[in-house]
């Protein structure tokens, strides 16, 4: 494979053209990634399913106006009606349509999932790079902190945080985000260490580069694909965490979320009283959405790093 038969064309123009070539290649790489992803059956199924759910959640106010959730206007509607043509997914203990609650719940569950994940990714990437890049006691200390959070039962800590802070969506996001970054930091750290040991980082240092240059120019681009794959995987577990916290009564009771619906179901003993739809519908929704995120995440992971099949 020598340059003579590589498809790069000679461009006598200026630096701009070298940049253009780079941009072209990036665009081509992205197109290649999309093409490869589109061949990944499980990943595509997950992606399409997620797209449908996200669109539905965004359109919730138009499909099902919020008055459909107003208990005071629902005095006539039947309680605990099983699924039928009239009530596609059944109704709850206050006569609300389950499908309406699910639709509005999707908004909260997804927003919490994404927001907590972004927080967790930012912390995880920063800590991971810091632990891998800096030597001496800075790196050691960061490493110690990562190890600590890695080991700590994140749900228990999230429970503690959300019991102490005032209730609300933001609290849940912070509780999940603050406790779920260690796994990402671990992956980022090991990738940082492996990049750090490459000769091109040494070469960069010999050229006079400082920490900032090495981190921005060499480390970040190398860990980003992994962080991206990790993001989709983490959204899934953040959604599970959200539902668990809501189920434990730590969520915002004034908002609909899938976890809150399950908590209501538990409170009225739906499981033992035969109101099966009340338990099944939100649970299956969670499983499907989380599964979809996992499938997409694994597909991305396989494409960006074929040797790193799964965690």
């Amino acid at each position: 494979m020598s340059i003579s038969n590589a498809p790069t064309t000679a461009t006598p123009a200026g630096t701009a053209s070298a940049r253009q070539v780079v941009w072209q290649r990036r665009r081509a790489a992205f197109a290649g990634f999309c093409k490869e992803f589109s061949h990944h059956k499980a990943g595509m199924v997950g992606l399409i399913f997620l797209a449908v759910v996200i669109v539905a959640a965004a359109l919730a106010p138009f499909i099902a106006p919020s008055r459909m959730l107003d208990v005071t206007q629902l005095l006539d509607s039947p309680r605990f009606a099983p699924p039928s043509w009239e009530h596609p997914l059944g109704t709850d203990h206050q006569g609300r349509e389950l499908w309406v609650r699910m639709l509005w719940g999707a908004q909260v569950s997804l927003i919490v999932g994404f927001a907590a994940t972004i927080m967790s990714m930012v912390i995880g990437t920063i800590m991971g790079i810091a632990a891998g890049h800096f030597t001496g006691w800075t790196g050691g200390l960061v490493m110690r902190i990562i190890d600590f959070f890695l080991v700590l039962p994140s749900l228990i800590l999230a429970i503690v945080l959300s019991s102490v802070l005032s209730r609300g969506v933001l609290t849940i996001v912070i509780a999940i985000g603050l406790t779920s970054w260690a796994g990402t930091a671990r992956v980022v750290r090991s990738q940082t260490l492996s990049v750090e040991s490459r000769d091109y980082v040494e070469r960069s240092r010999v050229l006079g580069a400082g920490h900032w240059h090495i981190i921005v120019k060499h480390l970040l681009p190398a860990v980003m694909p992994l962080v991206l794959a990790n993001t989709t995987l983490t959204v899934g577990s953040a959604i599970i965490s959200e539902s668990t916290l809501s189920f434990l009564g730590l969520g915002d009771t004034t908002l609909q979320s899938w976890g809150t619906i399950l908590k209501n179901a538990m409170d009225v003993s739906a499981a033992t009283s035969g109101y099966w739809w009340y338990v099944l519908v939100p649970g299956i929704a969670i499983v499907l959405v989380v599964l979809a995120f996992t499938l997409v995440g694994r597909a991305v992971e396989q494409i960006v790093n074929p040797t790193l099949r799964s965690r």
């Binding site: 700590l152 039962p153 228990i156 503690v160 102490v164 434990l248 939100p282 499983v287 694994r298």
Partner: protein, 346 residues
């Protein structure tokens, strides 16, 4: 420019091999690991303090949230909790309490938190311990089989099932089992740890407890084994292209022996660390599973502490749960050392 010629037969022969100094380094290894665990424990204790004392949000207000409470009552509560003292004074109190295992009195139970935890501790260990052992055994066994037959129907089916279970919230699976076995089939008891009238005799009693354990254990195993399967599968797949496997095949070893005697022992190394790291997930599962099946353990205590809210109890369970996990990870480090002759430094 010639310096002194080294004596004839000087040790030019070989580059020096790493000298095995196993005994001294073993002590050092355990020392570092113990030290690390101790630091983690100190951090848990600090976190246990600061999370409850410093974070915004007044614990007394939080406690008073759902109950009508006058300003005087709240003030009295503050007084009784020692919240009027300066921060460092509270901290000293807290440290003293932690070291004497005194987490104060539970608001809900009106009992010493340490006594409560002492009562419920072993129930949780029994439940999560059983679940952990079963999940590890099942996950590792299926994982290594799936990796070796990578791409086969067995692999696809097992990875698929594992992925689905991985996506299931633990508490929901518990609810489903409760619904199926509590609402329709009545094969296993669905609540508590003992029958209302426990049978006499040790064996009969044990069988009674075991039957109560079936559903919660199934729930926890189902959710956790999937993670172990994926971990084992991934680390064995990493090993599968290793050169020493070619050596083993060239020696004339059967494929199944190449796997069991060469590949698996190496793949177990990264697995051990990850398996123990996931114990935290198992413990988290215990909170909701114990709640759903009314299992009298620390998880149920935690749940009640949340609904109280009963902050001393929550603080106590948090510290104890974290301690359990730190000890488990210390164990993992020791097991790792037994498995890997190469462990050089901490």
């Amino acid at each position: 420019m010639t310096n002194a010629v080294p004596p004839a037969g000087a040790v030019i022969v070989e580059e020096a091999a790493e000298t095995p100094t196993r005994n001294t380094s073993a002590l050092k290894y355990f020392g570092t690991k113990l030290g690390g665990a101790a630091i983690s424990m100190v951090m848990v204790i600090l976190l246990g303090f600061f999370a409850f004392k410093i974070l915004p949000g007044d614990p007394v207000k939080a406690m008073a949230k759902d109950k009508p409470m006058s300003a005087e009552q709240m003030e009295a509560l503050r007084e009784s909790l020692g919240l009027n003292k300066p921060l460092w004074g509270q901290f000293v109190d807290y440290l003293g309490n932690v070291f004497t295992l005194n987490f104060g009195t539970s608001y809900v139970y009106k009992q010493s938190v340490s006594d409560l935890i002492g009562q419920y501790f072993w129930n949780t260990v029994l439940l999560t311990g059983t679940a952990a052992i079963l999940a590890i055994a099942l996950g590792l066994w299926l994982g290594q089989k799936a990796a070796w037959k990578n791409g086969s129907f067995f692999d696809k089916a097992n990875s698929g099932i594992a992925l689905v279970f991985w996506s299931v919230p633990t508490f929901w699976l518990a609810l489903i089992l409760l619904m199926v076995f509590g609402g329709t089939l009545h094969w296993f008891p669905t609540a508590g740890m003992h029958s209302p009238n426990p049978p006499d005799g040790f064996l009969a009693n044990a069988a009674d407890v075991a039957s109560h354990m079936v559903l919660p254990v199934i729930t926890m195993v189902a959710v956790v084994y999937a993670q172990y399967l994926m971990v084992m599968r991934a680390s064995l797949m990493e090993e599968m292209s290793a050169d020493y496997l070619t050596t083993a095949r060239a020696k004339g070893l059967r494929e199944d022996l190449v796997r069991s005697k060469h590949a698996v022992p190496n793949a177990l190394l990264p697995t051990v660390t990850l398996v123990f790291m996931h114990i935290g997930g198992l413990i988290a599962g215990a909170v909701t599973v114990e709640k759903v099946f009314s299992w009298p353990g620390l998880g149920k205590l935690t749940f009640e502490a949340i609904s109280g809210p009963d902050l001393p109890l929550l603080q106590g369970t948090f510290v104890v749960f974290s301690a359990i996990i730190i000890v488990m990870n210390l164990l993992a480090d020791f097991i790792y050392r037994q498995l890997d002759p190469r462990v050089k430094r901490a």
